[in-house]
């Protein structure tokens, strides 16, 4: 109890420090009055402009000292009022802008995280499956892989053939070849060497692929995916249109979300693979196998849950990276979310908007990581003490 109170106190202190830093930086390095009024701000001769300056100073509390302004802002912020935007009319208020933009970005980032996990968990499990089963791990682990991947392939192939793509044919040929190699290894012992080579190639390919995704900067990945799947293949729409229907908009978000998801998926896959390999050496796995539990059940039901720690930790940390990625991806794909809002606001020096978004993002990040901490004990009872 005392420990969690202490943690909450640290979180609050942290957020206050972040807001103070941002607030001071923007007020000292920038010129708020000029950002509000434009060139009139420097005109102290004309009585009309002086009246405008005084009105603006009163409206935005610019005549008050910095600490007082900060306290006023903080008081308003805590009550959900994020202030008035800089600019001639100040419309819409910051809260309204955030309410309009935030859901889109949340959907985008949520989609990205779900996609990342949906890719990483099967990928991680299949790349760690080889280490289950001890000495005779050779063709047997492939037996697990084949029916598992055949089902996936049937779905993928069906989806791809809908688009009349040659990729589908290539994928199908690859898996048929894999199945044949596997059958040969079962009947002709000499073909096991071949299967081992195939397995080595596949695991090499898998680790090279995950390394590639990790090393691909998100803006470059965005350009690549856009070029291949939107421009060349024409599977996805070129622009996001906020006036479209719900399902059309979700489809438009698919490619941006995939851009954000792939590097995360690669990181999760690597972590999951390492943790799974460690877990699979534990006694309770051996016990389950000895009782005759099938490999798939052992992997999905027994080993997966205690192997999720690193993934869950990085899931929280990755949320921060996603915000950075969302800036770039939203700008590139033309999605009006908070990423584009903050870029626009920074370029126009619209400080209240920037401050609000920085605070929302920092709060979200800190709270998410707090929740991740709580999740550990749900995942593994051993941590609860």
């Amino acid at each position: 109890m005392r420990r969690s109170l202490q943690r909450v106190a640290i979180v609050v202190l942290l957020l206050v420090a972040v807001s103070m830093l941002t607030f001071v930086a923007m007020n000292v390095l920038g010129d708020p009055l000029f950002n509000i009024l434009g060139p009139i701000a420097g005109d102290t001769e004309n009585p009309e402009s002086i009246a405008k300056i005084e009105a603006a100073e009163a409206q935005y509390y610019l005549d008050k000292p910095l600490p007082e302004r900060y306290v006023r802002w903080l008081g308003d912020f805590v009550q959900g009022d994020m202030g008035v935007r800089f600019g001639s009319d100040g419309q819409p208020p910051v809260t309204g802008l955030i309410k309009e933009r935030l859901p889109r970005s949340l959907v985008l980032m949520g989609m990205a995280q779900v996609m990342a996990l949906a890719i990483a968990i099967p990928w991680g499990i299949s790349s760690a499956a080889g280490s289950l089963g001890g000495v005779d791990a050779g063709p047997r682990s492939l037996r697990f892989l084949v029916p598992f991947s055949l089902k996936a392939v049937a779905v993928i192939y069906f989806a791809l053939s809908l688009f009349g793509s040659t990729i589908g044919v290539v994928v199908l040929i690859w898996f048929v070849a894999l199945l044949v190699a596997h059958q040969l290894a079962e009947t002709v012992p000499a073909a096991r060497a071949l299967v081992d080579v195939v397995k080595k190639v596949m695991s090499g390919f898998s680790s090279a692929l995950s390394f590639g995704f990790i090393s691909m900067p998100n803006f470059a990945l965005a350009v690549l995916l856009y070029y291949v799947f939107a421009l060349k293949q024409g599977w996805f729409p070129l622009r996001y249109d906020a006036s479209d229907g719900f399902f059309t908009r979700m489809w438009q978000l698919f490619l941006p979300a995939l851009t954000l998801a792939l590097p995360g998926a690669a990181v999760y896959q690597r972590l999951l693979r390492t943790d799974l390999i460690t877990t699979l050496q534990e006694d309770f796995i051996l016990m389950a196998r000895a009782k005759g539990v099938s490999k798939r059940r052992v992997l999905f039901r027994h080993a997966l849950r205690p192997s999720m720690f690193s993934v869950i930790t990085v899931f929280g940390i990755n949320a921060g990276a996603l915000v950075g990625g969302a800036l770039v991806v939203e700008t590139f794909f033309g999605i009006p979310g908070i990423g584009t809002a903050v870029v626009e606001a920074i370029l126009r020096e619209d400080f209240p908007v920037v401050l609000a978004i920085v605070m929302i993002v920092a709060t979200g990040f800190v709270v998410l990581n707090f929740l991740v901490d709580l999740l550990y004990s749900v995942l593994d009872p051993r941590v609860r003490s």
Partner: protein
């Protein structure tokens, strides 16, 4: 946050005993040297660009002999094609490397000089100084890095120096955190105790005993950090917020990434993307191998 502490414990808890027993001899491997070779090659090309027989990156090579309007595809004249203003992509990419690499390396150097020093000292002296610096690092880490970067770059004029400095500030906290944890570990070791017993001054212990040991795990971080800084500069450039003068990889990609450019002349975007990708991958790979080689666990997060 305290997630570091809890995972640290968890990872230790599920680590099987004697996991290292099977490892007999570790080598860096061929891939590591290939990666280092690529980094050296790019660095040399960037460094020697004015001396090399390259085409002027800013000259327009409009071809009157009937190839029509630019952009031109790859040919004997322009090995990697030309952009929409008929400028040579090969030399533009090599010149672009100059800014990208300088920003990457100097940002990391800054992060190491400031963050490394703070981390080393706070891990050694602990107490109040450690508490305060750790909190400052936490504040820095809870900013989304790219937002902080565009905040700083938008408030200052965008010269090579400010961009490198901004990314340098961003790398202070991660570098400092690792330096602190490494310094904490090594401060407990016998040789530090021995030096203390012999009456060595704290400054001597930090410079002569701790620094060489802390630098080993940090060398991997230097490579990984350079990759991150190069990508961050590219991200800034992609948002139109990088160095105003001169070309960088990010700016080249941005010009090539317009829908019309991509349709007509995809190489304008994909030549710098390939260069950037290979460089980042080489840095990541070399850093990864070094990390495995020195067996530094906490770097993984």
């Amino acid at each position: 946050m305290s997630q570091d502490v809890s995972t640290g414990g968890v990872i230790e808890a599920i680590e099987p005993e004697g996991a290292q027993a099977g490892v007999v001899k570790k080598t860096l491997g061929l891939g590591f040297w290939l990666a280092v070779g690529w980094i050296v090659l790019i660095a040399l090309l960037a460094l020697l660009a004015p001396v090399l027989p390259l085409k002027d990156p800013n000259a327009n090579f409009i071809d009157i002999q009937g190839k029509g309007r630019p952009p031109y595809g790859p040919s004997g004249d322009h090995w990697l094609g030309s952009d929409q203003d008929a400028r040579d992509m090969l030399s533009r990419t090599i010149y672009g490397a100059r800014v990208s690499l300088v920003v990457g390396f100097s940002a990391v150097a800054f992060g190491f000089a400031i963050g490394g020093t703070i981390g080393l000292v706070s891990g050694f002296v602990r107490g109040m100084f450690d508490k305060i610096t750790s909190f400052i690092m936490l504040v820095l880490l809870s900013f989304p890095a790219l937002i902080l970067a565009i905040l700083i770059t938008s408030l200052m004029e965008r010269s090579l120096l400010t961009i490198a400095l901004t990314l340098g500030i961003l790398s202070v906290a991660p570098v400092g955190r690792l330096a602190r944890s490494a310094s904490l570990v090594f401060s407990e070791r016998e040789f530090v105790l021995a030096a203390r017993t012999m009456g060595a001054k704290p400054s001597h212990i930090m410079l002569r005993e701790l620094l060489p040991n802390v630098l080993i795990p940090m060398s991997a971080l230097a490579l990984l950090g350079t990759a991150v800084a190069i990508v961050a500069e590219g991200g800034l450039a992609f948002l139109g917020l990088s160095v105003e003068k001169g070309s960088t990889w990010g700016k080249l990609i941005l010009t090539g990434a317009q829908t019309r450019q991509l349709e007509e002349a995809p190489w304008i975007a994909f030549v710098p993307i390939t260069a950037l990708f290979l460089t980042v991958m080489a840095l990541n790979f070399a850093g990864d191998r070094l990390r495995d080689y020195f067996d530094v666990r906490e770097l993984a997060l």
